[in-house]
Every structure is written in structure tokens, then in C-alpha cells.
Subunit: 194 residues, 2 copies
Amino acid sequence: MKKNTYHHGDLEEALLKVGMKEARASGARNLGVTYLAKKVHVSPMAVYRHFPNGESLKSSISQRAREELGRRMQEAVAKETDVKRRFQATGRAYIQFGLQEPGLFSVAFIDCDAAPTREDNPSAWGIFQDTILDLCNAGYIKASEVKSVAALAWSAVHGFTMLAGGQDPMRPTASPKAIDDLIERTWQGIVGNK
Amino acid sequence: MKKNTYHHGDLEEALLKVGMKEARASGARNLGVTYLAKKVHVSPMAVYRHFPNGESLKSSISQRAREELGRRMQEAVAKETDVKRRFQATGRAYIQFGLQEPGLFSVAFIDCDAAPTREDNPSAWGIFQDTILDLCNAGYIKASEVKSVAALAWSAVHGFTMLAGGQDPMRPTASPKAIDDLIERTWQGIVGNK
DNA sequence: AGGATAATGTTTACATTGTCAACATTCAGC
DNA sequence: GCTGAATGTTGACAATGTAAACATTATCCT
């Protein structure tokens, strides 16, 4: 019945967990070493047993956020069978994630030396690319076009989310109709005028 | 010949100037009050005579960066006469700015409560929108399409620049050919299959 | 079981940063 | 030239990241 554990059990996991909570609530504002340590009721220095420095902790949280995005995309894709619809679902999920979880989304793309997604976890990019290869196999696009198609789709979706989620007065509106429209136009840019 | 001026002359301008230099060199990393004050050989507190706090200073630098982007776009547009080419030039200039000046570009879009572009300075968004309205007048698109066309073009270009300029392993390549391709596909998404 | 050793936390200490308050100097206009 | 407004300075304080030294617990080897 020792309540005072001293040892925490799994501090690393706990830090990442509370980090994600903070990220969800307020983006990258409260992801400092001291702040997160306090949340877990641990001295700041304990953090350094699990991360070489604060940047690294933030970076790991960023990675988790990216994985969360990947998971959402995967779920969305799983609901569709048609190749084209699967492809579009990835984009829609990406945008919806960005708008529903602005904190996580912004943390996912802060440029702290981004640790790559761990191999065994769903990568947004991986899912995305798979659906593009499917488009290729289904004859929508040529193999030689894969790279440039990916660039357009990825860019449009990422850019839209950034801009729509920001606070610029010039940001595009993010109504369902506007999103549909973006996706439809992007599709035009992909399959062209054939 | 008093070398010890004590008063600086125009500290605000000096801070913004050196801030831009730092931004160009290393993004948002060295835009703190103390650091910039040191660069101008002034005590940190002097900064507060010109900006209410550090965020505000950073935000003003961000604004300057956005204005610089606007200037580049304007220069690019001025070289073209054809409506379509003018429109595409804005996008190309945007991307090139982002790739040639990654520091400035990232600072331009940090989410410090973005001060809107000062009215009398070239706004990237303003230039962009003007060329879209020209597209409209020239009959390329319908008036009802302006918003969604703007959303696609702006998103694609912004997203591409963010991604290509980042360090993700999944970033698109940014060769001239790849950029041309993006712009061409985006154009397809705009004028569609007519 | 018991003791060496690795893992994991804590306290102290210090440099850096943003910012407040109080004080000093210069400028501008009467 | 004096007075008040602008503009800078110094000193103090709280918060942060992190190094060093120390303490506690877990693990593993005989």
C-alpha cells in the first residue's frame, strides 16, 4: 500500500500522454520540460532520464501527433472500397483532423527536427501513398505521374488545413461544401482533362 | 562627434531590421527580446519602449516577412502581361520565395497573433486575389468560383512550399520541373475539363 | 538470500530569458 | 533655458532548461 511510489512505473509514457493532452488543448505552448514534469508530479530533472533534452521530448510528442493523424486516415480509408473514394477519403480525413484537432495538428508539424514516424505505426504519408499507387493500378494515372500527383494532393490538403485552421483574415472558409470543392478540384488537377 | 549616443535614433526600425536579418539566417530561433537587444547594443528593457512585449516584436517581424513576400510576388507579376501567366507567376514567386528564404518564410507564418499586413504595403493575398479576379474578368472562371479557386491555388502553393521546404523524408522534390508540374496541375483544377 | 550494478528520481545550483519598477538622459516646444 | 514627454539604463524577480551530485529502487548473478 505504498502510495509514495518514488519510482513512477512508466514515466516516459506518462510524459508523452500528458504531453498529448496539452497539445490537444493548446498546441505547442505548454510542452516545456518543467511544465510537463509538474503535471506528472515529478521533478523536472526526471525527464532527462528518458529524453536527452526538452526538444527531444517535444519532438516525440510531435511524432505521436503525426501517428494519431495516420490512425485517423487509416480509419477513414478502411470505410471505403472504391479506389477513387479511398484516395479522397485520406484527404478528407487529413483536413478534418486538422480542423477538429488544431492543437495536435500544429504540434504534428512544428519543425523540431522531426523524428520520422516509427515504422510499425500508421504513417499518414504511407497511407496516402498507398492510395495513390492504387489509383495508378486502377489506371487513373500513369506510373510516371505518381510523384507529381502526390505532390499536388499532399500540398493542397496540407496547405488548405494550415490556412483554414489559422487566423489570417485571408483564410479560406472550411465548410463541408468548401472542402468538397477543394477535393473535387484537386481531383481535376490529378486526372486532368481526359 | 559624440559616439556615445545613448539615444539610438530609431531603435524600433533597428530592431526590426536586425530581426529580419536573424529571421533570414535562422528562422524564428533568435527573435527573443534579449538577443535582439544585444545585437543592437541596447539594454533589453529598451525594447519595451517600442513594443509592449516580446511576442509583439516577433509578430512585427513576421509581418515584415509577409510584406517581403508580397513584394516578391508583385515584382514577378509586373513582368507578365498575359492574365493566365500573371496568375501563375504569383504562385511561382510564392514558392520560390519560400525555398530561397526558408527562414523568412517560416517566420512569416508562425502563429503569433498575426498582425495583418499594413494597408499601404503589398499584401501577398491582395496580389494573389487580384490576379484571380483578372482570371474571372477574362472569362477563365465564373464569379461564383472565385472563392473556391482561390482556396485551391493558395492551398496548393502554400502547402507545397511548406512541405518542400521542410525536412520530412516524405517531402516533395522542388526541382523547377516539379514546380512547373504543380502549377500546371493546379491550373487544371481551376479551369477544369472545359 | 545478499550484494553489486543499472535504472530511475531528487535536490542544489547556475545561466538565460522575459518583464516590472525606479531612475537617468535626451529631445522638443514654450 | 525650463519643463514634460520620449527614450534608455540598472537592478530585481520569477520561470525555464539543464549540469552535478546524491538517493532510492530494480535486477541479476552467484
